[in-house]
């Protein structure tokens, strides 16, 4: 028997949590859990982890689109069954990892993967461009300022050779979030692609009283741009509603999150901002936020050429100029942001100058600077 609509609470099971992880470990992992000694990336996408027991775990990492079908997952399962005793894992960046316990098993596995067209690109290790973590975009969310999967596909096609090789100065972690909610570590990524709105919310006076608690909508605005106001709906009746002080709006979208009758999205208003130089690891330098270097690029489906070019330009300027082992932000800090803008040729605009809460700490309070082309 199964679920009975007549009696939904019958033998209900809740709060059992996820399955225990250990049952999914490959033998070599279970056996050497906590015993690993060192690792070696033997070629792009292939890692060997050595255990004190002498065992070796060979991992082949494969890029994935994240938005994937059950048929594709089943295909991954077939591969795991054929080569990995039916085990596999997903990384924190949506890549897939197939593990074998013997170097000899690596090539057959790789040949199999390669034999399946462009479904399973091998790479993403070491000094490579990472898979681009991303969010929902137009595939599922209600607040996006751009698409996610489409932009990422276009960008990764262009950066492909950097994903499958390890010729960058260091890791470059890519991320996309389709709105300021930033569902991901976009705010701390080497190169971040961020969907941004640029028009204040519209107010649907017909729907607002039904859909929203006005006080919540008003309270939702961090800048107090939403004010109570009387308005007339399409029936010509006067209704309690809100008004938005446009000059105070910074397009964060929080009002829409709280009140469905205040949509912001707009084909021309929405687009993409590029942020760079963030990192999370503590290696050498502290974790830092990504900095906005391009405030806006238009939404140009299906391949967002402006965004693709911008990302590639930054990546390749970095590759050509940075020291090895230096993340993008470490490079920009070392040479100074004026040099970053000069080398990348990205125009510096007022939009890049902070004017939010902690802005003062980002202003230049020294006469030490470099004479770049910016100084006429």
């Amino acid at each position: 028997m199964g679920y009975d609509p007549e009696n939904p609470m019958a033998d209900r099971i809740t709060d059992i949590g996820p399955p225990h992880f250990e049952q999914f470990f490959p033998e070599v992992v279970k056996k050497n859990y906590g015993k690993w000694l060192y690792h070696e990336i033997t070629q792009p996408g292939v890692m060997m982890h050595k255990s004190e027991t002498g065992d070796e775990c060979w991992t082949v990492r494969v890029g994935a689109a994240r938005l994937i079908s059950i048929d594709l997952i089943r295909e991954m399962c077939d591969i795991a069954d054929a080569h990995c005793d039916g085990k596999l894992r997903f990384t924190t960046r949506n890549n897939v990892e197939f593990m074998v316990d013997d170097e000899a098993k690596v090539k057959p596995l790789m040949d199999d993967l390669a034999g399946r067209g462009n479904k399973f690109p091998i790479g993403g290790t070491g000094a490579s461009a990472s898979n681009c973590v991303h969010t929902q975009g137009w595939v599922h969310c209600h607040t996006p300022a751009t698409d996610a999967s489409g932009v990422v596909k276009a960008v990764m096609d262009e950066l492909f050779e950097y994903f499958t090789s390890m010729k960058l100065p260091a890791k470059v972690k890519l991320a996309l979030a389709c709105c300021l909610n930033m569902c991901g570590a976009v705010h701390c990524s080497d190169i971040a692609i961020l969907g941004v709105h640029r028009k204040p919310p519209m107010i649907d006076h017909d729907a607002i009283s039904g859909l929203c608690e006005l006080p919540l909508a008003i309270a939702s605005c961090p800048l107090g741009a939403v004010k109570p106001a009387k308005a007339t709906n399409s029936e010509g009746e006067e209704v309690k509603s809100v008004a938005v002080k446009h000059e105070r709006c910074m397009f964060c979208g929080n009002c829409y999150t709280m009140c469905p009758a205040m949509p912001l999205a707009d084909p021309d208003g929405d687009g993409i901002a590029i942020l760079v130089g963030g990192k999370v690891s503590n290696a050498r330098s502290n974790p830092t936020f990504s900095k906005m270097v391009i405030p806006f690029l238009p939404n140009t489906p299906p391949r967002w050429p402006e965004t693709v070019d911008a990302v590639k330009n930054i990546l390749e300027t970095y590759a050509a100029n940075a020291n090895r082992y230096e993340r993008i932000g470490e490079w920009a800090e070392r040479i100074g942001w004026e040099k970053f803008f000069e080398l990348t040729g990205i125009p510096f605009t007022m939009k890049c100058v902070d004017d939010y809460r902690l802005a003062y700490d980002t202003w230049r309070t020294t006469v030490s600077f470099k004479f770049t082309s910016h100084i006429k």
């Binding site: 994937i68 079908s69 059950i70 894992r89 137009w138 596909k153 096609d157 569902c183 964060c252 939010y356």
Partner: protein, 424 residues
């Protein structure tokens, strides 16, 4: 459901990176509603705007999270996605799977959903993308009874915890990230499934300061492995690196990139606490700040110290509303072990929750609450002794809030007495 023309999306079938469009088309052969996914997405590509309505509240009986409601704003054109709710399955720690388990999930989703997924969501859940309200209860029944697993979090509750793969396949993990993640997930099932907080709350577990699950950027309660005492050095392997026997950075730059130990390790050590003389490496560990760089560079020669634990930082979040926060270091070195059921973590978590649930405003992340009341107040409430490690630098403004009891004579004074000695 009929096939739609998707000239724009078709452009995304070319190129070397895996194409989600090709993938969805293939899936559509057996799950025709996928044609409507493509159809509506094509319309969004054409209109350059989303066609999803503002999320509605749907879920399974008794749970306040795990499902994100979603409806099309063009349901007539695309009835297959009129309802398109997300189901968040709580992933196993660090996302190892057996093909058997994955196949069960695929079958479940073939039966009740669109056939499309996210492997995985940004928080860590295995995300099943697109089903109807009617399917939720049957799906949940099969999930719990047949697959013996559960939903993850959404809404103002504890979100699905996540961790790096740690000891499973990494030599640097300073505590058992998977065990900690799993234990706390089980321990807090109620908090995950039934919203009781001012806003969302997230745990993330990384085994070392490389922070491979980006916990410092994305979790209200960030647990990052760390060590005390001396970095473990294999002097022989150091020689190997000096002699160019091994690749630099564990091969991260290719097989032929060797290490210049002086330039690449010592000179890049942020605290300059390393010295190379000949083929001997000396580390002044008292000045090491555990950044991991040298260990990353020479994995065969160096390992984190033997006395291991974790550093706990609090309050990371995305920008909404007061600006993003990277987690602030609160507990420098905590013992994290299954032997006491991770009670050192649990105590701290519950102290934070008790306080935050009391003083946190609606939709205020704990990091924002700390910003509002100030770090000193938070440390006091947590009964944490202030130490210099809590700050990058001491305050530069002179605006100290003294308490009456700290000041000789207290705050109450008699102005008349004062006037006797000081004419107006």
């Amino acid at each position: 459901m009929p096939k739609h023309d998707t000239p724009l999306l078709d452009e995304l079938e070319s190129g070397p990176w895996p194409s989600f469009v090709t993938d969805i088309k293939r899936q559509a052969e057996s799950k025709p509603e996928c044609w409507d996914i493509l159809g509506q997405l094509e319309l969004s590509f054409k209109d350059r705007i989303t066609h999803w309505k503002h999320g509605g509240i749907v879920g399974v009986f008794g749970y306040g999270g795990g499902i994100v409601g979603r409806y099309s704003d063009v349901p007539k054109e695309f009835p297959g996605v009129a309802h398109f709710h997300t189901v968040r399955l709580n992933q196993p720690s660090s996302k190892f799977y057996s093909s058997e388990k994955l196949r069960d999930i695929c079958n479940l989703w073939e039966k009740y959903g669109s056939g499309m997924t996210n492997m995985h969501g940004s928080t860590g859940d295995l995300v099943l993308l697109g089903t109807t309200t009617d399917n939720l209860e049957p799906l949940f029944y099969d999930l719990t009874h047949d697959l013996k697993q559960d939903l993850g979090g959404s809404g103002s509750n504890l979100r699905t915890p996540a961790c790096c793969l740690g000891k499973a396949r990494c030599e640097w993990s300073c505590y058992d990230t998977q065990a900690a993640c799993h234990h706390l997930t089980m321990h807090y099932q109620d908090e995950i499934h039934r919203p009781a907080f001012p806003y969302k709350f997230k745990f993330k577990f990384s085994g070392c300061p490389n922070d491979c699950v980006a916990s410092a950027a994305r979790s209200d309660f960030s647990v990052i492995g760390n060590w005390k005492g001396d970095i473990r050095v294999d002097a022989e392997a150091v020689k190997g690196y000096v002699n160019g026997d091994f690749t630099a950075n564990g091969g991260a730059h290719g097989a032929d990139v060797k290490l210049d130990v002086q330039a690449d390790v010592c000179d890049l050590c942020p605290t300059h606490c390393m010295k190379l003389s000949g083929d001997k490496l000396f580390i002044d560990n008292s000045n090491c700040n555990h950044c991991m760089h040298c260990i990353n560079m020479m994995p065969r020669a160096l390992r984190p110290g033997a006395e291991q634990g974790a550093t706990i930082s609090v309050g990371a979040k995305a920008p909404i509303l007061d600006g993003a926060q990277i987690a602030t270091m609160v507990w420098p070195f905590v013992n994290v072990t299954p032997d006491n059921d991770f009670e050192d973590l649990i105590d701290k978590i519950e102290n934070i929750w008790d306080w935050w649930m009391e003083v946190g405003k609606n939709r205020e992340r704990v990091g924002e609450t700390i910003m509002r009341v100030g770090l000193p107040t938070f440390l006091k409430v947590m009964e944490v002794e202030p130490i210099p490690q809590h700050v990058k630098e001491p305050r530069s403004n002179p605006y100290v809030f003294w308490q009456s009891e700290e000041v000789e004579g207290g705050f109450e004074r008699d102005v008349k007495e004062f006037r006797k000695r000081h004419a107006q």
